[in-house]
């Protein structure tokens, strides 16, 4: 306990170590929060849910905070209806009996549009309750300057989705302009560079039902260009989910891999140094073979042929790293320790091999192990990201590497979706720097030769 306190007080003299420790603490707390707030199964379900779960999100939308930049005013997504669920003012539904057999069910959506850019898409989700005769819905668009544009007439059978961008007749009526632009464009603005008209828009969904109990419900979604804190990807998924869950996954992977490799390497080096002779020679030879083994290609092959599970990859990585170059360094230090008098004393009172290795050799060297261990964590976090970028990420879990991989495959940089790359990259960089800064400071604390350098 006192050793830990002494280490911490020594660390506190390095500003970078304090910053690093703050980052690590924040990451741990945030990971705990994430795992509690979004349980594992829920996260996997959401991430794998596909478009059904994320139907009302825009595609590749930037995060909302881009609007904080001066001169940027991107539209947010507007979701209205069905009547009765949202505010009364914005969605109004009225029933009028036209004749004995026909009733008008009119839903009016009213919303303000104030952004400088056009929305991404407009969709209307219609559902109906009827016995035999299908209701008929005609849609009309009312602009702030009083124009009235007929959208389409739809027969509602079960759930129907009207995607305005796919209504060819509407596009023709708008002189070939895409509906999401034509419906919002200011007629006074330049045709080649249309600007949206700001003001209050209305969509009237006039349903004609032919039965007494029949009803039509509608839900309007005007997809914006920005979404949430992190934006969305090409499958409309909220990136925040992946960015949040990426944190515990990265921490767990980095920590386990670092513990696994450094502890196993350490034990093997201790065994070799203690027994010497044949065992030591064999360990040395295996280390040399291992140095030449192409680790990443082998990992890739395992991912391709056997399993892509993150835990399988982790085990293979640890197994391949047991006989890594670290053995040579540890062995050199062990051989030095072996000559110490206390070591001889242990042997003199008849301590067994196991006791000597685990109670005399290893504890003495833990200080040299710790810095390397901390520095190794971020490199393993990046190994996970590397595998994901090569399409070998875990198929279930959302991770930072998978987000980067999706962004790369969908040409995010080429198409200007910079947030898609920058968000996971920034998180990777911050977490990597956090561990590396603490590790470097620890190295100086534990390594007296470096203390003044």
């Amino acid at each position: 306990m006192t050793a830990i306190r002494r280490t911490l007080s020594a660390l506190s003299q390095y500003p970078s170590a304090i910053a690093g420790l703050a980052i690590i603490t924040a990451m741990v707390l945030f990971s705990i929060y994430t795992v509690i707030a979004i349980p594992y199964s829920e996260a996997v379900d959401l991430w794998r849910g596909g478009e059904g779960v994320w139907l009302e999100n825009p595609r590749t939308a930037m995060p909302k905070w881009v609007n904080l930049f001066p001169g940027v005013n991107q539209p947010e997504t507007i979701i209205l209806g069905p009547a009765g669920e949202t505010e009364v003012d914005s969605v109004r539904k009225t029933r009028e009996i036209v004749s004995e057999e026909m009733t008008d069910v009119i839903t009016t959506f009213t919303f303000d549009f104030t952004a400088d850019e056009f929305p991404q898409e407009i969709s209307l989700f219609l559902t109906s309750e009827h016995e035999q005769k299908r209701p008929l819905v005609s849609l009309t668009w009312l602009t702030p300057d009083g124009r009235e544009i007929r959208i389409a007439d739809v027969t509602v059978e079960g759930p129907v989705t009207v995607r305005f961008s796919q209504e060819d007749k509407l596009e023709r009526r708008l002189d070939g302009v895409r509906p999401e632009i034509g419906l919002f464009a200011d007629p006074a603005s330049n045709e080649d560079d249309p600007r949206p008209l700001k003001g209050t828009y209305q969509l009237v969904a006039a349903g004609l039902v032919f039965e007494d109990d029949a009803d039509v419900d509608a839900r309007l979604v005007v997809y914006g260009q920005v979404y949430g804190l992190a934006g969305t990807d090409h499958l409309r998924r909220d990136l925040l989910l992946a960015l949040m869950w990426g944190m515990p996954v990265a921490l767990a992977f980095g920590l386990m891999a670092a513990v696994g490799t450094s502890v196993s390497t350490f034990i093997v080096a201790a065994i070799g140094a203690h027994f010497g002779g044949f065992i030591d020679a064999v360990i040395q030879r295996i280390t040399e073979v291992n140095l030449i083994l192409p680790v990443l290609p082998i990992l890739i092959m395992v991912g391709l042929f056997y399993s892509r599970s993150i835990w399988v990859m982790l085990s293979v990585l640890i197994v391949l790293s047991i006989f890594s170059g670290g053995i040579k360094t540890s062995r050199a230090v062990f051989l030095q320790v072996k000559e110490s008098p206390y070591f001889e004393a242990a042997r003199a009172y008849g301590a067994g091999n196991f006791r000597i290795i685990f109670l005399y050799l290893i504890p003495r060297l833990i200080p040299t192990l710790v810095p390397g261990f901390v520095v190794a964590i971020p490199s393993f976090v990046f190994v996970e990201a590397t595998l994901a970028v090569l399409n070998l990420g875990d198929p279930l879990l959302p991770t930072w590497g998978k987000v980067l991989s999706d962004a790369r495959v969908n040409d995010a940089l080429y198409q200007g979706n910079y947030y898609w790359v920058l968000e996971p990259a920034a998180l990777l960089l911050i977490s990597g720097l956090g561990f590396a800064m603490v590790g470097f400071a620890l190295d100086r604390v534990f390594n007296p030769r470096l203390r003044d350098l």
Partner: protein, 380 residues
């Protein structure tokens, strides 16, 4: 390099000649032994690769299934076999399949087959690729792989030598100006090497290709390639800037930090103080008293860095669309082209083997302990 020490022992000059020859012989013996050991290590590495790639015979099963299917289709389309009854045709197909399996050596026991495959892999005789071909149109795995090698070597040797020399000279400079502002900046930047090169590559593409448009997004040359040789070389250079910078940035700060610290530790040794007290100029002290004993370790560190570079190449080349070995591996992995995957892995093992061999050779030249063959009498 040895002549620096000669004037100190003028009397030993006559005895020097046989001594040099035996030194040469010792260096040759040392490197020879290391070479044999390395060939064995490469063999073991490649054999392990084959075992993993073949996943206990699973790949063979896929191949048998493929043979059976193609033979059955060929038999169904063959007009000469039209008159045969179903049973006859089945027997005929079985016979053809057996012949094919024998031709590919699939009927032999796994151990024998894997050894044959090992030999084939070592000389890169891996047969034909099913779904890939080289740019020159060959389907032979060896041609496909070797065609990509120059691009990879060009990219990574450039990166390696750039970081090697920048590393060495900046580290020397910093160890001389220890504690200065630039020294502290480099030390503070050392943790940035936690991120691999492809990661910085993404940022570089974003900044210099997407936003500023100064350099291309990726590739080897512009399309269509320039006609003149100079134009071609310039285009390749232009395409190389970003990947080389990415590799350089990802390794340089940690490398400089490590070398500088190492130089500093050694410049505190007593014999360096002694040399200073004698009034030797700084350059001579650096060359003779600091660089000489630290060189083997520095070279080891850099060679390990080069090994890291080879592996980093898979992702870096994929990110930059660089038509090298790494990108080939990625493409082959995506379409399960086993022979190309194994072939690339073998080539990686060879590259690593060569790296380690040159490291050993440099060691033999640089490390006096190898030269004197561990004979304590040699250290006068």
């Amino acid at each position: 390099m040895t002549d620096a020490a000669l004037p100190l022992q003028p009397g030993a000059e006559s005895a020097e000649r046989p001594q040099t020859q035996s030194t040469l012989a010792r260096v040759a013996q040392y490197t020879g032994l290391r070479m044999v050991a390395l060939v064995f290590t490469v063999l073991i590495g490649v054999y392990l690769t084959i075992l993993i790639a073949n996943m206990g015979g699973y790949v063979d099963e896929i191949r048998v299934g493929y043979i059976r299917e193609s033979v059955a289709i060929a038999a169904a389309l063959d007009p000469e076999l039209k008159d045969m009854s179903a049973e006859e045709r089945l027997a005929h197909v079985d016979k053809l399949v057996a012949l094919q399996e024998k031709r590919m050596g699939l009927n032999q026991p796994f151990l024998l087959r894997s050894l044959r495959f090992l030999w084939g892999a070592m000389i890169l005789d891996l047969g034909w690729a099913d779904n890939m071909s080289s740019d020159s149109g060959s389907r032979q795995v060896r041609n496909i792989i070797l065609e990509r090698l120059p691009a990879t070597i060009l990219l990574f040797s450039t990166s390696f030598f750039l970081s090697f020399f920048v590393n060495l000279f900046s580290a020397l400079y910093l160890s001389r100006n220890y504690g200065s502002l630039i020294d502290r900046v480099i030390v503070a930047l050392a943790p940035t090497s936690a991120a691999p090169s492809w990661f910085y590559g993404l940022f570089l593409i974003l900044l210099f290709a997407a936003l500023l448009g100064w350099f291309p997004f990726g590739g080897l040359v512009s399309a269509p390639p320039p006609d003149t040789l100079i134009g071609y070389a310039l285009s390749v250079l232009n395409h190389m800037v970003l990947p080389v910078t990415a590799t350089f940035v990802s390794s340089i700060f940690l490398g400089i930090y490590g070398s500088r610290t190492f130089f500093l530790i050694f410049s505190n040794e007593d014999y360096v103080d002694m040399a200073r007290a004698k009034g030797l100029p700084d350059r001579v002290i650096e060359r003779r008293y600091i660089l000489r004993p630290t060189m083997p370790t520095i070279v080891t560190g850099l060679a390990l860095q080069l090994i890291g570079l080879w592996f980093g190449s898979i992702v870096l080349e994929t990110i930059f669309n660089w038509p090298g070995l790494g990108r080939l591996f990625y493409l082959a992995a995506n379409i399960f082209e086993t022979s190309v995957i194994v072939g690339s892995t073998v080539l990686y093992a060879y590259l690593l083997g060569f790296t380690v061999f040159f490291l050993d050779f440099a060691y033999a030249l640089l490390d006096p302990r190898v030269k004197v063959g561990g004979n304590p009498g040699g250290q006068a």
